[in-house]
Every structure is written in structure tokens, then in C-alpha cells.
Amino acid sequence: MIATRGPYSDVIRERWRRPRFRRPLAGPSLVAEDVNPLCGDRVRIMLRLDDGRVAEAGFVGDSCAICTASADVLAELVTGRLAAEARAVETADVLSVLQADIRPTRMRCVTLPLSVLAKALNGGVA
């Protein structure tokens, strides 16, 4: 039985098994997608804005557990926020929810969804 889990905290395992925001949105206001050139992971984030607020957020893609958990947490963090507030969400905010020991080689797995979100908020077209 594998004892050490490395970077896989309970939050990451839970979000990987049962992500809450992993779904496409019908008629999103903003969409962006990017690829991690190191591993080929792909994340697409969709946002529905309502009166300047993120009314709904969702993501799809092919990604590892860390990246998927990061996207899922991020979608949760930005939902209900003003676009300007959503833009202010940082890696540290996501990490504090993930509660995991992420090594530098996997940090890009955490930050990919954040850069895709920024791209979407900067006018990613649906």
C-alpha cells in the first residue's frame, strides 16, 4: 500500500474525484483556454458575467489532479465576485485552499488555471 501521498492532499483528492465546477457553460460571456507546454495539460475556463459579477464559472480540459483541483477551487473562489475582484485572486489563495505540499516542478499545474482565468477576464471571447 502506498503510504506517502506527496502533493496529494485530501482537498486535491476530493476535488479530483468529485469536481464541482467541471462542466461547460451554455452561452458564456468570456472563454479562454491554454496549454501547459511541459505536460500538454489543457484547461478551458468559461465565465458568465451578470452586471459585472461572475454569475457562473466552469472549466473543462485534460489535466492532472493538481491542475483540476486548482481549476475547481478557482472557479469556486471567483463565483459571485466582481470581475475586478476575481482578477485579484492569487496563487496563494488557491494554495491555501488546496492545503498541499506542491513542489516547484508541479507549481505550473496550480498556476495554469489562474493564467487562463486572467486571459478570460481580459476579454476572452466565447
Partner: protein, 405 residues
Amino acid sequence: MRLDEVTRRDFPVLGRVVNGHPLAYLDSAASSQKPRAVIDAMSQYYERSHANVHRSIHTLGEEATELYEGARDHVQRFIGAGSREEVVFTRGTTDGLNLLADALCASLAPGDEVLITEMEHHSNIIPWQIAARRRGLALRAVPIAERGLLDLEALDRLLTERTRVVAFTHVSNVLGTINPVASICARARRVGAVTVVDGAQAAPHLGLAMSALQCDFYVFSPHKMLGPTGIGVLWGRRERLAALEPTRGGGEMIKEVWLDRAEWNDLPWRFEPGTPPIAEAVGLTAAVEYLEKIGMDRVGEHERALSRQTLEALAALPGVRVFGPPAAVERGAVVAFTVDGLHPHDVAALLDAEGIAVRAGHHCAMPLMRRLGVVGTSRASFSVFNAPDEVDRLVRAVADLRSVL
């Protein structure tokens, strides 16, 4: 005695404990570990004999030149090359393929065709793409048929009188497929195409004889065969090399220089501008000597046994998919696999927590990943120092993975 029982103590790094477990290094296809003999040869060279080569009229310079040129003789013998003039030192497989794409395509005309395959490493795709764009060439690819083998009927259809270059891998770094080099080269020759073989995954594993392979050019990376990084080997059939115009200039590759022209040096130095990787050549000699002492037959046999063991054990696990030809077919020393519901990077990270080093991701073969319908795979690969109990550890850990994440 099994080969690993003889070799293990020669590799200092294998004494390491990683994440609380003895290191099981199953990533030699990316870069192998180095025996003490290679490490010592390089530090001794730096401690006693380092100087620049060829132009130095002093003792150390002469020693360094002798060692550097001596490496060429070792490589010539190791790969069964006709003469030492045919052995060019580069910086690696990627460097050699870029050199060939530049030099071979320089004389081609728009509409001429370069043929690669669907199972190439990016380093045997991108240099041809760049050259094709620059010269208006058409780039085509031989597809893969059943069981991870090249579709040779498609190859015959794709070979036309417009085909000028056929560039393909000897052994796939993902599928482990061993391509029939001589047969592919014979077909290419019928249409007058030059053949370039990427031997990165073959040189560490198979005994090579350039004459039997029947290709025009062959490139590989010593760092995957117990040698150092930073040096590569490009073998070229003498008349082909002689006909090739150099595309990289500098010191050492010339005989005489005027301000507006120059006369090229003889082979092989014509293709070695600048100060070469001297210490790396010294390390390469030690690596070749190490492998020759074991014998490439025994090396290949040992690595094939480990591959077969891995392939059979992993294929028997529920939810695990293995790629490439079945165990009964002769393969290279790599086994790529996926685990249902797990991303390859998570597989590698979880195995690392057990002290097991495997590669994960697209393996620089994105077109092949797309063809296989996966984002990536995990890959175990083997060298002379790997033991069957390391395979057991891998298989046990993979069997447990799905309960962990």
C-alpha cells in the same frame, strides 16, 4: 549471475534513498545514469589533461587531442562504421537532426518531399518542419498500423520520385517498436531518397552495424547510453557526408580562410565548428568501453527481459493499458502505459513517492499521443543496472494507485 548483480555497484547514484525508499531508476530512455568509470574518466581528464584540441602545440593540448580523437575511434568500432571520417561529434541527437535537416534541405526545390513517421520524437519533426517551411517542401508522415508497427504499405504509397529525404526513428521512445531500418532504407533508395535514422533509443540497447542498416545517416545521444550529456554522434556514409555542404561555420571546420571565402576542412572536422565537447568525448569513450565489456548482446537481452516482464505484468492489471507491440514481438527497452482515471503526471508523482522514477507526459511525441488518443502516458525504461525486483515494485505500486488518488 544476472547482469544487474554485476553492474549495480558501478553506479554511485543507485545508493540514493528517495522519499524514504531505495531509488528505482526506470527513466534511462530519457537519460541513463552513469557508471563510476565514466564519472572518473571525465574528472581525471579535467584534473590532468584539459586543454583545447587540435591547435595546441603543447603536452596537454596533445593529450586532449589524442583523447578526443580516440573517442572517435571507439565510436567507429562501437557502431561498425567503415571509417573514422564518417563519425561526426555533435551536441546530441537533436543537434544532429537539425544539422541534417539544414544541410540536406538546402539543395532541395519547392515541391520536393520529406517523409517522416507518426511515431517520431519532436526532434525528428520540428527541424524538418522548419526546413520545409523555409524551402517550400512538402512534409508527409508514414502512419502507424496495428500493434504500434509502421504501416509499410502506406510507406510504399507515400514514396514517390519527389521524395528526397526519409527520416525515421530506429526504436520508438514511446511504443518501443523496432523499425526495420534496412528494409525501409531499401525502399527509399528505390526512389533515390536519402535516409536519416534517429538512433537515440536504439544505440543504448541494440548492437549496431552501420553497414547492415543500409542508411545514409544515423544519429544518437551518448547520455542515453551511460555517457555524458552535451555530446552527440552523427554517422554519415562517406560519400553522402562528402557531398554535404556545411551550414555551420567557425574555427576548426576550415583549411584556409580568406575574407570572402574559405576552403573546408576534411571530414569529419568540416562539420565540427568551434571547440568540441572534449571532456564529454572522454566520458563517451568510457561509456562505450563499459558497454563493450558487457557485450551489447547481453545488454539487449537483459533490458528486453525487463521490458517483457513489465509489459506482461502491467497488461494483466485491471484498468492499465500498455502501448506498442505485444511482448512476443522484439521491442526496445521502454514500456508506456496509462492507468484508467489517472493522469500520467499523477501516476509519476505517486510512483516517485515510492522512490520509483518514471517519465510521464507526451514524451516529446505529441502527434503520436494524438494518434493513440491519449494526453500522455507514463513510461518505464530500462538499462543495464535495473533489476527484476524493481519491476515488481513498479507493478505493485501501479496496482495500488487507483486506491490512492
